[in-house]
Structure formats: structure tokens, C-alpha cells
Symmetry: C2
Subunit: 203 residues, 2 copies
């Protein structure tokens, strides 16, 4: 495959992501993607065997790039051994920024999660993605002094996913300040506090 062709292929994938984010997976048709990418209709079938493949590969592209972005972020943060509040603020800011800058891709990524429910081929990739998240979160939890970083990472990853979904559906301008940051601060503070499950025996 020539360089130019590869660029066109990628442009088709990005156009697909834009469409998913803006109008849902329903809106992804060969014609719509071609128009969005500014290429003739036949380009879509030249580069992808079927519409399903186009959709799947677009989602995988988004997932891979998102993982890379996250890894860069955490690695750039980790050596500084921040305090809990700084961690919370940094993570909240990154999450808010992702959603603000490119909500289409974020929506598309959630669609990936749902799509993987039905497509085993996607599930395998999703596992990689998920474990990358867990690994990074575990690193963060360890940094703030968690006594069970793996378990806490599960919670952090899930909570961030849930908060992101919430933010995507919210038009609030101040979601970051009002919800995201306070919630993450508290969550991280709890993890850092390292309170053992003493309340488990209570009843």
C-alpha cells in the first residue's frame, strides 16, 4: 500500500468517527463517509471489504490512539509524585479536555464498548484497551499510596468511565469544577487514606 493510499484510508476512518459522534452509528453509510472524507464513493469499498469492517477499524483506531494518549499522560505525571489533590485535578482536567475537544471520538469509544458486546473480534481488542487503563490506574493508585492498587484501579477506571458518560450527556459548562474534580478528589483521597475495610464487620 502506497503512502498516499494509507492517508486516504485513515481519513476515511476519521470521517467515520466524526459521523458516529455527530449522528450515531446509524449515520455511517458508505456515501456519508465518502462525502465527509471528501472522496468518491468507491474509495470506501476499495479500502474496506464491508461496512462492518469500516466501522470496526474506525473504532479500533480511536481506541489505540486513546490508549497512547493516556499512557503519555500518566508517564509524564508519574515521576513527579504529586499529592492527591493534584492527581485528581490532573485527571479531571484530562477527562474534561478529552470530552470538550473531541466528544465525537469519546462517544465513538463508548459505542465500541457496546459494539464489542456483539462482536467477538472487537472484544479481544477491548480487553487490551481495558487492561491498559487498569495498568495506568494501578500506577496512579500506587503513587498515592493505595494498599490494594489493583482493586482500587478497578474502581477508578469504572468511575471515570461513568463520569465521562455523564459528562457527554450533560450540557453543563462547569461539569469539571462541579462534578468531575470533587468526585475524583474524594475518590483519590479515600484511596490514599488507605483505610482498611474495618467497617466490613459492622452490622
Amino acid at each position: 500500500m502506497y503512502q498516499k493510499g494509507e492517508r486516504r484510508r485513515e481519513e476515511l476512518l476519521r470521517a467515520t468517527l466524526r459521523l458516529i459522534g455527530a449522528h450515531g452509528a446509524d449515520a455511517v453509510t458508505h456515501r456519508a463517509v465518502a462525502a465527509e472524507a471528501g472522496v468518491p464513493l468507491s474509495a470506501t469499498t476499495y479500502y474496506f471489504d464491508s461496512k462492518e469492517q469500516l466501522l470496526q477499524q474506525a473504532l479500533l483506531l480511536a481506541a489505540r490512539e486513546e490508549t497512547e494518549r493516556l499512557e503519555r499522560l500518566v508517564l509524564s505525571l508519574a515521576p513527579q509524585s504529586l499529592g492527591v489533590a493534584e492527581w485528581a485535578a490532573a485527571v479531571a482536567s484530562v477527562v474534561a479536555q478529552s470530552v470538550r475537544e473531541d466528544p465525537a471520538t469519546q462517544v465513538a469509544l463508548f459505542e465500541l464498548g457496546l459494539e464489542s458486546t456483539r462482536t467477538p473480534a472487537l472484544r479481544a481488542e477491548l480487553v487490551d484497551w481495558q487492561s491498559a487503563h487498569l495498568r495506568l490506574a494501578e500506577m496512579g493508585c500506587r503513587a498515592v499510596g493505595s494498599d490494594e492498587p489493583a482493586l482500587d484501579a478497578t474502581i477508578v477506571v469504572a468511575a471515570i468511565a461513568g463520569l465521562m458518560l455523564e459528562q457527554l450527556a450533560s450540557d453543563s459548562e462547569s461539569f469539571e469544577e462541579d462534578v468531575l474534580r470533587p468526585a475524583l478528589e474524594r475518590l483519590f483521597a479515600r484511596i490514599a487514606a488507605g483505610e482498611p475495610a474495618r467497617a466490613l464487620q459492622a452490622h
Copy 2:
């Protein structure tokens, strides 16, 4: 509207939810819904002005029923003032059961969240749904002794949403025991421990 007609209308909505869960929103066509519901094609346009309306109303039906189900659960649990571990186990069991029993509806509900990103009409309903969740979670947090139930509820709701999404995409048989319950136990224990954010000053 006659009773029989109302039943047919509802059956169309349920058929739509089944299709979303099984094959995605793409698979929702008038013909597919009619076939799934076992009614002639024209019934779909008789009961719904357009395909969009059909989709939206199906999602709203699922959201309303889910909220009711949740409310029943929490209200039946609250008076007993359980310990933290019992709360975690109860919630984990309900979440796991929802996913196991009717994954199609759960997937559809997440699609509702994504769809509301683009459809203001849905967003309003989603707000109600979300605040019902928050209210219930807050009740639970208060019951286990949180000193900031509203904030903790935000975290709990987000974490449960994230864990559910994870479980939907996982084929693991033992997700409840291995992931869901431990994570919720720890989260609830942290909330119950009521450790103030003493670590916030650390650096």
C-alpha cells in the same frame, strides 16, 4: 386507544429493545421490528410516526422500567440497615442479575445515554433517570454512614455504570464474584469509613 392496541404498541417497543441489544441500533428497521414482534409491517408506522420516535420511545420505556426496578430494590433494602458488606453484595447481585437476565435492555440503556448526546428531547428524560439513580445512591451512602452522601453518591453511580459496561463486554462467568463484589465492597467500605480528606494536604 384500545387495550389490545396498547399491548401491540408495547410489544413493538420491546421488540425494538431486543434488536438493539442483539444487533445494535443499526438493525432497527421497520421490517425487522415488525418481524421480531410478529406483526405486519404497517403496524410500525401505525403506532409510531417515524423510526426515530420508535427508537426514542423504546429507550424511554427501558429507562422508566429500570428506574422503577431500582427504586423497588432500594426501598426494600433500606429499612433493614444492612452492614457494608451486605450492601455491596446486594448491589453487586442486582447489577449482575440485570446484566445476566436482560443484557439487551442494559445495552439499549447505554445506547440511550449516547443517543441523548445528540437528541435534546432524550436528554431531559435522561436527567430524570440520572437523578433517580443519584437519589437512591445517596440514600444508600447515608445508610452506611457517609459524611458526604451526595458526593459519594456521584462516585457510586458512576462506578456502577462503569462496572456494568465492563461486565456487558466481558464473557466472564465469574464477573460478579471476581470483580463486581470486591470492587463495590471496597468502595462502600471506604465510604462507610468516612475518612475525611486528610490526605489532601499531603504532598
